[in-house]
Amino acid sequence: MSRFENSLIPNSIIYFFVLLISLISIIPLFTIFNGIIELNTNSEYFYFFREFSLKNYVANSIIILFGVLVFTFLLGLYSAYLVSFYKFPFSSFFKYALILSFAIPPYIFAYSLSAFFENYGTGYLIVSTFLNEKMANQIIPNLNPIIGIIISLSFSLFGYVYILARSSFVNQSQNLIEVSSNLGFSQTQRFFKVILPSARPAIFIGLSLVAMETLSDFGTASFFGTSTLITGIYNSWFIFDDLVSANILSLFLLIFILFFFCLESFSSKNSKYHLSNSSSHKKKIINLSGKKAIFAFVFCFILFFLSFLFPLFQMLFWTFKFPEYYSNLDLIKLNLNTVKLILASTIIIIVCSFFSNFGIRVLQKKTLRFISSLSISGYAIPGIVISVSTITFFSILNEKFNINLKSFFIGSIYGLILGYLFRFYSISFNAIKAGYLKINQSIDDSASLLGFSKFRTLTKIHLPFFKKNIYFIFILISLEIIKELPITLILRPFNFETFSTKAYNFASQDLIEAASVPSLFLILWTTFLIILSIKYFLSEEK
């Protein structure tokens, strides 16, 4: 017998809707599998791919993944450590400023990076202005594409490790740290023996997120033109017209990514036991002085500069250098489109994920729990595959079930919202799930005893608790939607542009200079949203 039988809404209706939402959220997974069933065993591309490219592509993907993980780990961890345990010039500024790296999508970072290093690029301009024009191209090294991808991804993704490591440091028990000093540990010993091990689960979650983003990244890899698993998907489709093989490769990728996801959920489970905060002790912050303070400052400054100011300056530089490109943009429409997309999508995504979490909680059904846990796959599937899945789904619906929703969803704002739901549902779902874990089940039981209906428990007890959480999820999803490219590009209605599609248009006609204005607006939007919610990123600042 389930809880809340005194409810006005029958359990079966809740069950139905939660099941529906969960099933909708796993449509891409379904279409990928469906695509594989049609596999033609003598797929020309698949054979060729296995013979000639597989090793190379997998090797590149692994090198990039490894490089990005090492970089984000070192950068994120060390900067979080510095701003959490030490005071040095501008340390409280950097604490917030480093989060701004989230405002830069990896592809905009890639544009800036490649423009800096290319022959006669920005680097050349700087060197030739201040030093020697003849030598300038020699002085600026050629950027190896794989290194380019690693750098672009690392600087735009290290924020995950930074934020999670920092929140874990701040919540770390001061007692433990004091014990370590009583035991006569040096600062280095203290870091490796006490601080790092207890932050391990949080860092691990951060790294898994980085790994998922890296593996499903398409924009950066294709911009630098390196063959990774994603390129395999692309080639299979674009050159061989073989969408089946593309689906199989997506599945490979998905399995790869799911592996990281399992690691992540495993460590999130463990992490609960590590967050033993003793609020009675205020954290002791060590004042740095002299060389050490300068070093800490320089490290954080360089990180902030490279991750945020460098791409921002590059875009500003182009905007001022080529003002003629500014006039072509219908800024009012672009901003309105952005607002429209953000509002409609986030509201729907949050309502759906909230309702399904609520349903799973009150109904306690294992099937629902299982199906909804599959929904995380959306975040792991590359956007380009999601967009095809969306289109394919409506086509299947029409062919097999004679339900024709194509003209309603394909090429309309509803289709776009659905695409975003597939991709970003898991962000919202998991964040709400984590929030629900903190509300003790006994509260629900007491509410029930007091005669609260399920609906009232939801509105009067759960929702107030989630207010801040929802606001934060709203910001997170908005950030993703503003930066999103492949889904928007394919599913949008006629004459519908966003800042990211505009930037892409210019970049693909080889006028990255003109892409700077839409990119700049995109960065302004994301920066604005981050600043609005900065205290939630650093969860401890109340």
Partner: protein
Amino acid sequence: MKNILILFIIFFSIESILANEINLFTTRHYESDIQLYKKFEEKTGIRVNVISGKSKPLEKRILEEDRECIGDIFFLADAGRLVSAEQKGIFQKINSEILENSIPKHFRNKYWFGLTKRARIIFYNPKLIKEDEIENLNYEDLAKKNWKGKIAIRQANNVYNQSLVSSLIETNGKKHTQNWLKGIVRNFSRNPQGNDRAQILAVAAGEAEIAIANTYYYALMLSGKKGPEQKKAAERVKPFFPNQNNRGAHMNISGAGILRFAPNKDNAIKFLEFLVSPTSQLHLSNNTFEYPMIENIEVNDLIKKIGIDFKQHNSIDVSTYGKWQKTSFKLMKEAGWN
């Protein structure tokens, strides 16, 4: 007041239902194309609605939408891509005297029509290569040993490269091209990377002696639209049209076809006919620096400077690029072209 509002709403919804329009899918991302579409709108009153994107996702969208697809035209930037779309039954047959009379036969068929031309040629650094070294050069010669470590070109998955190699397979046969690929890959100055402009820049900087690229990338640099540094770099490089003593330089097209279920077929035909008119051709070529599809267009000085009187490979039907693209890619990969 309420009634006025209702009338107002009805008025606008009727307008949007009865709108005189065409819907265009395009893989060309030029802002100047949009300006040209505006001119069409002014001239005919037919509104042009646009979605731009990558070729295959758009193709997939059109195919899956099937009868529901409200698109009228699909505009693509490579002959092979047009053939691939045609083979899937995306386009319908079109009879238009204007199109047939304006566009040379080997740049069109019944389903699609070439609207601009692109030449994929050689760029060299005159400081590193003497005129007589490059004189009479053919694409075929690029596999010879004297070019070892000197050639810059982009990756195998680039469709323009696939079309170039396809034209070689069609002309010289598979076996010959296979050997050619082995040779040219040995001659690469670096692992292929970057776009066409990056190859020209590498030649300007002396990192490679010759590059293979489409001319409009070079023109874009020369135009100053990418800043004075790029312009200066382009001036250090010279264009060279290969195979002038035999079949001519490799030409590709960007072109469009009318979709099978196009709801506005008549408007769409008008639109394509408008695109081959002399004013449109001039607009296209002046802004994107592609070569015009029709004869006797007074192109701008920049294109003249690069060259207009060169011999073009006109004996080949560009639809053969579509036939060989997959094979090209396979052979390129087998030869070690990354």
